[in-house]
């Protein structure tokens, strides 16, 4: 009896969390689910359409194209940012006054609001007045990110690398500094090469933080919106229209709420499934 009363009261303790989660996650998500199966012509009148929108999105070439762009973009930035981040972390001093200087310098890009990053790079890369744009053109390359798809990709990737490699560096550095000095001494006594030290001591010891780095960078880059929106607006043409930019165009540009809602759900599921696959793959060896 007493136990039962106590149990009931415990609900009050989780209630605030339940309410919070309900308002910031469950209710909006259910609204999206609601939209995704209905058609509306305004005036708050809805017709049930079943899975029509899902079929439409999954068969749409436009969606395939943005998904492909998104996958390429995420793949490229992961391939650049993870190794580069690890390399920078390895090159950073391990102790002394320079450590804090390096850490602060590294953290700076992470502190800048995303739309500011987009705006900064937009101006920075402009071919006529931007420092970067002028420089590239000055070196004899014809570069204009507002007109050439390749240049737009190059700029977007460069911007993302600039903005987010720091995160990988900080995580990798944290992993590295948790390795006791004795490991390095033991390796030196064994006569191990610096490659062996990296491959058999540093990399295995960094594995956990690198898994987190890959997951974070994957999820974040897969949802990227603000920076390319400010930098290129998804252009030229549709060259840098990634999933979230495309989604906003459908939802707010064309006001197709149904297809946009269906696309949101598909988008969400892709991220969930891919994250799960990443995590399982990277953690599999750990359990063996």
């Amino acid at each position: 009896m007493i136990g039962k009363t106590t149990n009931q009261r415990a609900w009050f303790l989780v209630l605030p969390v339940v309410v919070l989660v309900a308002f910031n996650a469950l209710i909006p998500l259910m609204t999206v689910v609601n939209y995704s199966v209905q058609e509306t012509f305004g005036n708050n009148v809805f017709f049930f359409e079943g899975v029509k929108w899902f079929e439409q999105i999954l068969h749409s070439e436009r969606f395939h194209a943005s998904l492909l762009r998104q996958l390429s973009f995420t793949g490229i930035i992961l391939l650049i940012e993870i190794p580069l981040g690890v390399a920078i972390a390895l090159a950073m001093p391990k102790r002394g006054p320079w450590v804090s200087v390096c850490l602060v310098l590294m953290a700076l890009p992470l502190l800048i609001p995303w739309n500011v990053v987009g705006a900064m790079w937009n101006i920075f890369a402009l071919p006529d007045i931007g420092l970067l744009g002028r420089m590239i053109n000055g070196m004899g390359f014809d570069y204009n990110f507002t007109q050439q798809p390749l240049a737009a990709w190059f700029t977007t990737i460069l911007m993302d690398v600039w903005h987010w490699t720091s995160l990988v560096v900080l995580l990798a550095y944290a992993g590295l500094s948790s390795i006791p000095d004795a490991y390095y001494q033991a390796a030196r006594i064994d006569g191990a090469s610096s490659w062996s030290v990296f491959r058999y001591i540093q990399l295995p010891k960094m594995k956990r933080v690198l898994t987190i780095a890959v997951l974070l960078r994957f999820m974040d880059s897969f949802m990227i919106y603000t920076e390319p929106f400010v930098l290129t607006g998804g252009g030229p043409g549709n060259a840098t229209t990634f999933l979230s930019i495309d989604l906003v165009k459908i939802a707010l540009g064309q006001f197709d709420l149904g297809p946009a809602a269906a696309m949101s759900l598909i988008y969400f599921l892709i991220i969930l499934v891919l994250s799960w696959i990443f995590y399982t793959l990277m953690m599999r060896n750990e359990e063996q």
Partner: protein
């Protein structure tokens, strides 16, 4: 002569970590570096290994000057307080790693690894990963890695400090035997006097970057050359008191005196410092030479069947290790007996007389 340090000094960023130290370690001996934390044990080991270069002085190894020789080119092995193994190698590969680096034929690697694993009783674990082993097994693996190289010099930096009591006792017994058979010169750093006594061999006491004494462990313990060595080699800390000799008697605090006997009888009159270990000042008279002192209890710690009594006598604070459980109150007056025949007498320069 396996390894010899000739006036080796190590200065790091203006701080002298090791003061001009000369030490000769004979081949095949089990040597112990005994000292508190920051006394320079690890630095000495690193210098011997070649992980660090001495600022001044020379290091000779088997009749060869190896002062500038990098660690890879010396035949040394080292085991640390932390259990250092390659995290994603099996126990077998871990033990084999130093042999693979020097490209030994696989057949020989296999036989050597099995031999060492058998010796350390980890043969059933060869296929496991270090993460799946207990602390003791991990340290056994690290020890096997050091043994398998058949190095001439094996350096052990507090290898048992992170193990729990039972495992520590077990390995402490095995270690000297293990290394005795290999013929390697062993240097074992520890902070615990009791451990040094159990391991035997030869002990160098270290204090603030200086070797204060070196010799067979038991004789360093029984006849500390100076007060510092006596302090390093005593846990709980050794008790000291200033006494003066006048005529045939030693006087302490003007109220206590005893007759100078044997070789102390001929000592010149003057001021001396006596040192006596905690188990030589007890609640009951320990020998016929015991003298009685009265003090006040500061604190009593009871450990199993023994009581550690901290007390104040005049200006001095002494520690007594007495048999039996004695719950004494703080401030309580207590009579203790000091065995004067077990005291060490040090002169003004703190040298043993």
């Amino acid at each position: 002569m396996a390894i010899e340090l000739k006036r080796v000094t190590k200065v790091v960023a203006g701080d002298t970590h090791i003061h001009a130290t000369s030490l000769k370690l004979e081949e095949g001996r089990f040597n112990i570096l005994l000292g508190t934390t920051l006394s320079g044990k690890t630095t000495l080991l690193r210098l011997m290994a070649g992980l660090e270069r001495p600022t001044r002085g020379e290091i000779w190894f088997k009749g060869r000057n190896v002062t500038g020789l990098p660690v890879q080119q010396r035949k040394v092995a080292m085991v640390y307080q932390q259990f250092i193994n390659y995290p994603n190698f099996t126990v077998y590969d871990n033990i084999a790693s130093p042999l693979k680096v020097v490209r030994m034929p696989p057949k020989e690697i296999e036989s050597r690894v099995h031999k060492v694993a058998e010796l350390l009783q980890i043969e059933p674990l060869l296929k496991r990963m270090p993460g799946e082993l207990s602390g003791g097994q991990q340290q056994r693996t690290a020890l096997a890695r050091a043994l398998v190289k058949e190095s001439d010099l094996v350096l052990l930096d507090e290898p048992l400090a992170n193990l729990d009591y039972k495992l520590r006792e077990e390995l402490r017994e095995e270690l000297p035997k293990l290394f005795h058979d290999t013929g390697a010169t062993v240097v074992y750093a520890t902070t615990e006097p009791a451990e040094a006594l159990l391991l035997g061999g030869y002990t160098a006491t270290l204090h603030e970057g200086r070797v204060t004494q070196y010799g067979p462990t038991s004789s360093v313990y029984r006849a500390p050359g100076d007060l510092l060595s006596a302090r390093v080699f005593s846990d709980p800390p050794i008790n000291t008191a200033s006494v003066s000799k006048r005529g045939e008697r030693f006087h302490y605090n003007e109220s206590v005196s005893w007759k100078a006997k044997g070789r102390y009888a001929g000592l010149a009159d003057g001021a001396y410092t006596i040192g006596f270990r905690p188990h030589h000042i007890t609640l009951a008279p320990g020998s016929s030479e015991s003298i009685s002192v009265v003090g006040n209890v500061v604190v009593t710690e009871i450990s199993g069947s023994e009581s550690v009594i901290h007390m104040r006598v005049g200006k001095d604070t002494w520690v007594s290790l007495s048999h039996g459980i004695h719950s004494l109150k703080r401030g309580q007056g207590v009579e203790l007996f000091v065995q004067t025949d077990r005291c060490f007498y040090f002169d003004k320069n703190e040298r043993l007389v």
